[in-house]
């Protein structure tokens, strides 16, 4: 009877548990969860702040889920060390546990500039329920809150704060919003819409100085010279994977690269979710696709392979879907076509709606939709079919070169 150990109980870890139960019903599963909460959706945190859902709706399972026979949950504990040779993990309370197969689904933490990560109660990221609760408290008082980062999380948070009655200031280092996931025109439409909804947006701007003010808030100085007093500063500048349990075996802050079978370079150790680095089919490179559907799929596929079913991962595909204060937004694949030739753009504009399809050598490689988001799923399937025909997803033991002893 196999013993599976899953480090991490969020999106990827939960998907793995479900798949393991389905494909190996008799196995013993131990889940180690740093957070004490039942697994919840991190993506719903902005919806919680906005008031679309209440805290009770965030949990992804009933409490009875972890009372299944053969499933053991160690909550509020962390894996601090992994010994791939001995096939054991050590927890933060010094307990050592053996495993037959280990899944690292430890996720990632928000990137907060050095110097502000501790000792500044006015500074936070947005990853956990606690972060969301802190933000909600300030939002309820209608406070001025600085949101740093123009990516999907920053944009969604700024919108949520507006809906909650707070006064958000969105500070973006790039010349425009959503610089990685939207093209120029879509980004401009989003900015226009958000500004019309009363969100203050500053692009090409960074924080050059932050100090705590006497009233418990913060005073930030921006690169354009402005001084901004605010109650809270939320950094939405990406995440750094939690891989410290591998110690010297893994460069710090580097995601765990996995092959098609979700295997890391360590035998019997798999990785899934925000901690993992997978092959992305539109950019044809390895990267961390830190979004919800990727974590679910990777957790499920990792579990199937751990259970002995050879099921390859179909590859990540960069994509984002969100509602921006009533403006639907979807982008999939390569939406910012390079200025080099070979790309063909088909654009439809209709009032508040903008639809762009990007073709490369006759094959669909990206789609940007604002307003009218019909056919998004159909187009995703088209992009995947085109990519599968163009490239061979190497069953890369990319990790062969990096095999650790």
């Amino acid at each position: 009877m196999k013993h599976y150990l899953i480090a991490g109980n969020s999106t990827a870890g939960l998907a793995a548990v479900r798949a393991l139960r389905q494909h190996d019903p008799r196995a013993k599963i131990t889940v180690v969860s740093a957070e004490r909460h039942l697994p919840y959706s991190r993506v719903l945190l902005t919806h919680l702040i906005a008031g679309h859902v209440d805290a009770g709706q965030l949990a992804l399972v009933e409490p009875s889920f972890f009372e299944q026979p053969g499933l053991e949950l160690l909550a509020g504990r962390q894996v601090v060390q992994v010994d791939p040779k001995a096939k054991t993990v050590t927890l933060d309370d010094a307990v050592t546990l053996p495993y037959d197969k280990l899944l690292l689904a430890t996720g990632a933490g928000p990137v907060i500039p050095a110097g502000f990560s501790t000792g500044y109660p006015q500074v936070t990221g947005l990853r956990t329920l606690e972060d969301a609760a802190l933000i909600s408290r300030h939002a309820a008082a209608g406070a001025k809150i600085a949101v740093v980062g123009g990516g999907p999380v920053g944009v969604k948070l700024a919108c949520a704060l507006r809906e909650a009655g707070a006064s958000p200031e969105l500070i973006v280092s790039s010349p425009r919003l959503l610089s990685r996931v939207a093209d120029d025109e879509a980004a401009a439409m989003v900015r226009r819409h958000m500004s019309q909804c009363g969100i203050r947006i500053r692009t090409t701007t960074v924080i050059v100085h932050l100090e705590q003010s006497r009233d418990g808030g913060a005073l930030i100085t921006l690169s354009d010279g402005t001084s901004l007093p605010c109650r809270l500063v939320v950094f939405c500048k990406g995440v750094r994977p939690h891989t410290s349990m591998l110690g010297g075996l893994q460069p710090p802050g580097a995601a765990l690269r996995v092959d098609r079978w979700m295997r890391t370079s360590f035998e019997d150790i798999y990785a899934a979710g925000d901690v993992a680095e997978t092959y992305e089919i539109s950019s044809r490179s390895f990267c961390t696709a830190a979004t919800w559907p990727h974590a679910v799929e990777q957790g499920r596929v990792a579990a199937m392979n751990m259970a002995g079913l050879a099921m390859a991962y179909r590859g990540s595909l960069n994509r984002n879907a969100m509602d921006i204060l009533g403006l639907p937004f979807i982008s999939i694949g390569l939406v910012k076509a390079p200025s080099r030739g070979g790309y063909d753009l088909r654009i439809q504009r209709n009032g508040n709606s903008y639809r762009k399809l990007v073709y490369r050598r006759g094959r669909l490689v990206g789609i940007q939709l604002i307003g009218d988001v019909r056919e998004a799923g159909f187009r995703q399937a088209q992009i995947r079919r085109a990519a599968a025909r163009d490239i061979e997803i190497e069953s890369t033991m990319c990790c062969e070169e990096e095999k650790h002893e």
């Binding site: 993506v43 679910v296 969100m322 019909r374």
Partner: protein, 158 residues
């Protein structure tokens, strides 16, 4: 026992009876018919030279369910159908971004899709389709088995 909707767009003449049947008599989650008309859960779409019927195939590995950030979409064990729990849906468009059949649409701030006519013996759309473009069948053996029988009878003769 898993249900499948067999879709043959080549037979569809665009009459739209399926969408009317769905709108007028579709059973809300929890069973029961005769509810007030509601938006249909399937759509006939002209896509260039082809006609498509956008309706849920109740996939065995539903990408919509995997993509739902609120855990609102799941497979109902007894019927094998894929269902949205509307009270959990936050209208984020994630499922609409996934479904290759465009079987989910946005309505009233939430995603809607075919729920397999829970509580009814056969899905309404298939029941009212005059051309056989939509047929309901139990998967896992019956429909393919019938076809195998027919294929052999054609070969073996009377």
């Amino acid at each position: 026992m898993l249900t499948t909707i067999q879709v043959d767009p080549a037979r569809c003449d665009g009459c739209g009876r399926c969408t009317v049947a769905c709108a007028m008599g579709g059973a809300p989650a929890g069973g029961g018919t005769g509810a007030a008309p509601r938006p249909p859960r399937l759509w006939i779409r002209e896509a260039g030279t082809r006609r498509r019927i956008d309706v849920c195939r109740h996939c065995e590995t539903p990408v919509c369910a995997n993509a739902c950030v609120a855990g609102a979409i799941s497979i109902d064990e007894s019927s094998g159908t894929v269902r949205i729990a509307a009270d959990k849906c936050v209208g984020c468009y994630s499922c609409i971004m996934e479904c290759p059949f465009q079987a989910l649409r946005f309505s009233g701030g939430k995603a809607i899709k075919c729920d397999g006519c829970s509580g009814l013996s056969s899905p309404l759309c298939a029941r009212f389709c005059p051309t056989g473009a939509l047929q309901a069948a139990r998967s896992g053996g019956l429909a393919p088995r019938r076809r195998r029988h027919r294929a052999v009878i054609r070969k073996a003769g009377p």
